[in-house]
Symmetry: C2
Subunit: 143 residues, 2 copies
DNA sequence: TTAATAAAAGACTTTTTTATCTTTTATTAA
DNA sequence: TTAATAAAAGATAAAAAAGTCTTTTATTAA
């Protein structure tokens, strides 16, 4: 469904969001432990997400990753689209290049419905929204 | 969503189902053309599907791939599960190993709904069902 | 029974994804 | 201003997925 990269990305951003709510920044090592991901791999991913405005960072002592209001309001859909592209939202279920209402693949209509549900769900969910559940220990980011 | 292998698998089986309805067998070359896939790759995939009972085949002149009643009634869900495993039906949206009702990831409940819709859709759809639309030129398998 | 046909099998290559390691740059506190 | 810290950047490696090529085996029609 989502690539490993995208799964790690969302988990890391949620971990950071949670820390931001605590009023603190967090470093690569803490993040990697907190979401159970390879350290260097998540570092790479976060560099990318930083460039794209999904997270902020500061080098040096007391540095680390954190969110501002704006980046906390980004939706999961935006993250997925940036990391994995929009194939999940618009691609054909059977991999056809030109699958459409007027030239549908055999599962076009049923599949479209599910794609749209997925997109809607991801669109209406922001990092900030989900960090609530984490903060209150109702949801988890590892294992 | 589905692997390339699985997309080709379903398309090839549908192509064969359609030919079966015509009362004829079909060969690798014709299949590869008919679904716009790499010839040797789909050959490999069909060998696999043959072992697993999703299609029948006969070597030699007048040979080729075809379906019987039973293989025509296999659901898309069965194919997906055999080719890609059941991660699509049971896996966590954020890649956690133990994501469950009692220890949910942040998107567990919303995601579960979508997974289940997907599974239901694929379960109630058989190769035979979809070959109708192809036969009547209402749906397509290439481009 | 033999030549032609078509799938089965297996080895191999390429591409993409995932992951790791090392060096550089920026920031801060002492 | 310097030593310590932490992210950024870049190079490399390993694993998985996708795709290709060659040889073998089974079947059939002549």
């Amino acid at each position: 469904m989502l690539s490993k990269t995208c799964e790690y990305a969302i988990r890391a951003l949620l971990f950071i969001a949670q820390k931001t709510k605590d009023g603190s920044k967090t470093g690569i090592k803490e993040i990697a432990k907190g979401i159970d991901s390879p350290e260097h791999f998540i570092a790479k991913i976060l560099q990318d997400l930083g460039r794209k405005g999904f997270v902020l960072s500061l080098k040096g002592p007391t540095g680390g990753f954190y969110h501002d209001k704006k980046s906390l309001n980004r939706s999961l859909a935006e993250i997925v689209k940036e990391v994995d592209g929009d194939k999940l939202f618009t691609g054909c279920g059977l991999g056809l290049k030109q699958c459409s209402e007027s030239r549908p693949c055999p599962i076009h209509h049923e599949f479209k419905k599910i794609r749209e549900d997925m997109q809607e769900m991801l669109q209406k969910t922001s990092l900030g929204d989900l960090s609530e559940g984490l903060f209150n220990r109702l949801t988890y980011l590892k294992r």
